[in-house]
């Protein structure tokens, strides 16, 4: 489950001056008691065979287009473990800094040339000094120039309301202001474009909504990692 980033932002100033903090707590309590209770969406993604689909990103975009993006979203992490990106799919809100710690004892060279973010973290080990800030919405495909089989995805959402399905193919997007939302789903192997998966739910009328998608997934073809006999140890 992805926690509403706006709440995380709201909690940051509490560490400031005690008087200011008290005032802010009072205001927050006032907002919480006066505002209509938040709603949630439970989304389920299955494939053609009815099997749950993990790593699908579900995005809830207010139909009125009125979103308040967090000004300083917290840093997120995409690790490299045993020469794979972990997690394979990371969903973040636009403006999020992401750090790519290398947990292997070998060096990686992370890059992307996706239009949403072109970057390169040249050959490194350990934790890079600077995070990469994803300032444009879209799908960013990650690669490593040393290990061609390494593929990862950063989904940069233009809405702060999103989540990624777990192994059970389900995600709960909570703390949603009661409004109408256009929902979409994205998965790296989906046969169809994200825009064609749109569904609308009106959370002004119901507090809880359940949405389900069936996605046709393309087979995952990655650059081969397994050894081939007689090709002793060439990268």
């Amino acid at each position: 489950m992805k926690i509403d980033s706006m709440i995380a932002v709201r909690s940051t100033p509490w560490r400031t001056h005690p008087l200011k903090a008290t005032l802010m707590v009072a205001t927050s309590v006032l907002i919480m008691t006066t505002r209509v209770p938040a709603a949630e969406i439970t989304a389920t993604v299955t494939d053609d065979h009815g099997k749950p689909v993990a790593h699908a990103v579900v995005i809830a975009m207010p139909v009125d287009g009125n979103v308040r993006l967090p000004t300083n979203p917290p840093r997120e992490i995409v690790d490299q473990i045993q020469q794979e990106f972990t997690p394979k799919v990371k969903a973040i809100v636009v403006g999020t800094p992401v750090i790519f710690p290398n947990k292997d004892n070998i060096r990686h060279h992370v890059y992307s040339f996706s239009p949403a973010k072109r970057f390169e973290v040249p050959l490194y080990s350990g934790v890079p000094a600077q995070p990469v800030v994803f300032d444009k919405a879209g799908v960013v495909v990650l690669g490593c120039n040393i290990h061609d089989w390494m593929v990862g995805y950063v989904y940069v959402s233009e809405s702060p309301y999103f989540g990624k399905t777990g192994e059970d193919g389900t995600v709960v997007i909570g703390d949603l202001p009661p409004r109408a939302y256009a929902l979409r789903v994205w998965h790296p192997q989906s046969e169809v474009a994200e825009e064609t998966t749109k569904k609308t739910v009106d959370l002004a009328k119901v507090k809880q909504a359940e949405v389900a998608w069936t996605l046709t997934l393309k087979p995952e073809i990655k650059v081969r990692r397994a050894p081939v006999a007689g090709h002793g140890g060439l990268y």
Partner: protein, 291 residues
């Protein structure tokens, strides 16, 4: 031979890397079916056999940048034949390969240059030799499932045995050199399966074992008694030839670390005086990479 095997084993295991270091050990075990080990033209001279082979190779990769680096491998190979034990051998060697990618991404062109050296020790001494191979390859990946490369190589085999049987002829039948060019394409129809086709042409010395005959005497410049096939009528000849070979292979990934492989190699050598021989080898092997 046993001492050489112990040395090889010690060498490879000494470079066994700690978990996750940029080193690896490849092990592959094969079953090979050869239809013409003598490389003979005439049916009565052809000797087929089956062999078991074990490859053990330890490697280390040193990245100079995100675009280039060098792989160093220590390679050992042992082959044991069912019938012709004189062909049993152990080979110990090493390869240094420099590879450079022209840019960023899996689909950019690359070039590599490699130097391999090896020492081969056979049960029957005639074939004992040191080998040197210098090669270069240029290739690129076109998609996750398609890649191709072209390459050239120089090979030199320094034969140890020099027992001349015939006046005017050298005895160094396994002292060979050649130049070759090849083209290779790989296609992965699924995540697990990889199909590869390779075509190669080589010009240079070849060795052919046959009974004495006039054309092969004219074409050859070295002759020696070949005891490996336990037939006193068979002699080993060195002659210049052009060899065309094609390889088809299929590799099925059992995991990210291991695969089961099948390959078919067909070679046709053409020499002067209407001499020619064809041979093929079928190989079934299991490959595993540590860590």
């Amino acid at each position: 031979m046993r001492r050489l095997f112990t040395l090889a084993f010690a060498l490879v295991t000494s470079i066994t890397p700690p978990a996750h270091a940029d080193g690896w050990v490849d092990v592959d075990a094969s079953f090979i079916d050869y239809n013409n080990l003598t490389h003979a033209q005439n049916a009565e001279d052809r000797r087929p056999d089956r062999a078991l082979a074990l490859n053990l190779s330890g490697g280390h990769y040193i990245a100079f940048s995100g675009r280039d680096g060098i792989s160093l491998t220590l390679d050992t190979r042992a082959e044991v034949y069912r019938r012709y034990s004189g062909l049993d051998f152990l080979s110990v060697g090493g390869t240094a390969t420099y590879k450079r990618k022209f840019g960023l991404g899996a689909n950019v062109p690359w070039i590599l240059a490699s130097v391999s050296v090896a020492h081969d020790e056979y049960r029957a001494n005639l074939r004992d030799s040191d080998r040197l191979r210098i090669g270069s390859e240029f290739g690129r990946r076109f998609s996750e499932s398609f890649d191709g490369a072209i390459g050239v190589a120089l090979d030199r085999r320094y034969g140890k045995s020099d027992i001349a049987d015939l006046p005017g002829y050298s005895g160094r039948v396994f002292d060979l050199q050649g130049q070759s060019a090849h083209a290779r394409v790989g296609y992965a129809p699924s995540e697990r399966l990889l199909l590869t086709a390779l075509l190669a042409v080589r010009r240079g010395d070849v060795e052919s074992t046959a009974q004495q005959n006039y054309p092969i005497l004219l074409a050859s410049d070295a002759i020696a008694d070949d005891p490996a096939f336990r037939d006193p009528n068979l002699y080993a000849y060195r002659l210049p030839a052009t060899t065309y070979s094609g390889t088809l292979s299929a590799s099925w990934a059992l995991s990210d670390r291991s695969s089961i492989n099948f390959s078919y190699v067909d070679s046709r050598a053409r020499a002067g005086y209407d001499l020619a021989y064809n041979d093929r080898a079928l190989t079934l092997s299991i490959a595993h990479r540590y860590p």
